[in-house]
Amino acid sequence: MSKVLLTGNGASAWGARLARADYVPAFPITPQTEIIETLSKWIVDGDMDCRMVNMDSEHSMLTAAGAAAVTGVRVFTATSSQGLLYAMEMLYSTAGWRAPFVMANVSRGLSAPITLESDHNDILAARDSGFLQIHCATCQDILDSTLIAYRLTEDPRVRLPVIVNLDGFYLSFTREPVEIPDTKRVDEFIGPYDPENERFTANVPVSQAVAVLGGTPYSYFRYETHLAAQKALEVYDEIAEEFAEKFGRHYPSIETYQCDDADSVFVMMGSFSTKAKEAVNQLRKAGKKVGLLQYRLLRPYPAKAISHALKNKKAVGVIDQNISIGKGGVLHTELASALYGQTGAPRILASFIGGLGGRDIPIQEFFKIVDTLEEATKTGITPEPRLLFTSQEMEEVRKLQAIANQIPTTTIDTTTIDTATVDTATIDTTIDSNNKTSTTQRSTD
């Protein structure tokens, strides 16, 4: 089967088209906009039998998406970053409505400072909303995951909305060869949307999303939603198997790479996982037993599969492209809770925060992380969480601060990155941040 070059956004739009979405409430936001522009063109050209509505905000967009889904049509929508947060009330609401629909989130760092580039703080803010989350690493992954997401969201055992997450810029605007599956085969895989009892029609009056009084019915419905999300683990596995049989590409809930005999394992998600794979390849050549565990499903959280994959590993380095201010990496915290008390849980569970706001994680930093993990394995002491930042970056910021006429107050002790060799690493990233600075510029006199 031939492949075409598609951006991540293009792949996402193809997913919605192949799934025959009936309805797309939309609102533009960088770096997502290309998705809705692509769908809009297809609809105008008659390539897609779908209605698209430009809403007044992401909050309205999510409301319309959920409302249409519970009225009985197949819905797709897309957003990013500030838009996701603006819609946050309706993420929780539509998940509570058990509205089955799929939303692409093109990950982008959150304000302030306002930025356009990628990290995972936006999508992790939706972590507890009831949306299921599939995290993609390649453009093919995005298209395929969108198809899988429709099966998952519409499954009678699940009926929860699903976010397919792709990293802004690194995936949204990056062209990769993508195989576009045959329409007929996709139809066989997904089938028509059966709204079951979720619909509004004249002959069957219903009340949806009504208020409850008191903690008992409230708890019941919240637990019910949680149990459905947990059930989605096995449902996802079934669907992924079926997808693999039909299309030849397998997407397990977690992907492991060179993990079986590894001593040290990177844990992360998203497009930078492909960088980690390359680092693993190079480190393996240098004789280091290193592997990668990449999350595809974050919600539901595949705790059993994760703890199984990490059993008897010596050290794990969690790379978080997010920062829970005042705590640290979100994935690290979650992994600790999944591993604690498990037989054969790795002794060393180290946290590395990097790749915020589009900041790259160069391969040399993966090397240094492995050095740190190996050192920790020797000493048996888990290192303090590290904020990845190089001395070159510190210099760069100092120059910007000089232009902004700002007196530097915070020093982030940094790493110096050498050329691409495996053995040069030492990481020293303590932090001194007693004072507040921001991106405020002082006007010069």
Partner: protein
């Protein structure tokens, strides 16, 4: 939706079958509920009410509902966006022949003045711009009634609220929601009140035969929030009309026409005196400045009012 247009000449033409069930958790004497009763009887049960957070959210409490038709709670800011999703989905289902035309529903947004004047404006504006076919019913009790009558965008000048407790009451002025909505040029727009059921029924009936965004603001006397005896609600409502505080009017094709004319407009004091929220304008001494301001503004309004 009915094919033939019901004509309401006299009170006895009003529907005799009442669709909304009793025993709701609304306060005794709720002017909003009175209006909804009357509206629902004219609309019929082939409706889905799309609700925003407010007093009426308590109407449907799991597992009970007073509605014979459908109900859908959304959120405070986005009931009109919910109506957009429901209406679009129903259109798609009919177009793609997944449901019959007979299964279609009349989509009705139901919000208070807090949502309508404040955080719901953006989503409402969007639906009018997109010419969405739906009915918006705003029950205006001039405050955030469900949380204890705090000041909202609908609160009138001089009224005491639970967040305007000073001797002047609320020092701002009630937003002119009618004009804000009219500036969008909707298909239909009207003010109504439960205490004028014939005028209300004629207007709601009209909305059934107009495609596009139709919006009505129902003035909703609120004994709990306005501090008067629940049995006085109809009287308070009638006085709101007779004193010119609440003009009954319609916007059609760019024109605003008043539907009830006063033979002799009563002084606004007669309305204000019925409610505890205005007591401070009379006791311990009269606040002539505020009373004159309120009366002057009403007089000025009626100088340019157009009638049929």
């Amino acid at each position: 939706m009915s094919e033939s247009q019901d004509v309401f000449h006299r009170m006895k033409d009003l529907p005799t079958e009442h669709l909304l069930g009793g025993g709701t958790p609304m306060c005794a004497g709720c002017g909003g509920l009175q209006a909804i009763h009357e509206i629902y009887d004219v609309l019929g049960e082939n409706t889905v009410f799309v609700n925003a957070a407010g007093c009426m959210t308590m109407l449907a409490n799991y597992p009970y509902t007073p509605f014979k038709g459908s109900w859908f709670y959304t959120a405070m800011a986005s009931a009109p966006a919910g109506a957009q999703g429901v209406r679009d989905a129903l259109d798609i289902l009919v177009e793609k022949k997944r449901i019959s035309k007979e299964e279609d529903l009349n989509v009705v947004v139901l919000t208070g003045d807090g949502s309508a004047n404040g955080m719901g404006l953006s989503s409402t504006s969007g639906t009018i711009e997109r010419n969405l076919d739906y009915l918006y019913v705003c029950y205006d009790n001039e405050g955030y009634g469900n949380t204890g009558q705090q000041t909202s965008g609908g609160t009138p000048h001089g009224a005491k609220t639970s967040t305007a407790k000073g001797e002047l009451g609320f020092t701002g002025y009630k937003k002119d929601l009618f004009s804000i909505w009219a500036s969008h040029k909707p298909a239909y727009l009207a003010t109504i009140i439960g205490s004028e059921p014939l005028d209300l029924a004629r207007k709601i009936e009209k909305t059934k035969h107009i495609t596009g965004p139709k919006l009505v603001i129902a003035f909703s006397p609120c004994p709990t929030g306005w501090n008067y005896d629940p049995k006085e609600s109809v009287k308070v409502g009638k006085l709101a009309v007779k004193t010119g505080v609440w003009p009954l009017k319609e916007y059609i094709d760019g024109k605003v026409i008043h539907t009830i004319k006063h033979k002799k407009r009563l002084p606004v004091e007669e309305y204000l005196k019925t409610q505890g929220r205005f007591d401070h304008l009379f006791y311990p001494e009269r606040n002539e400045k505020i009373l004159k301001d309120i009366q002057d503004r009403i007089d000025k309004y009626w100088e340019t009012a157009v009638f049929t």
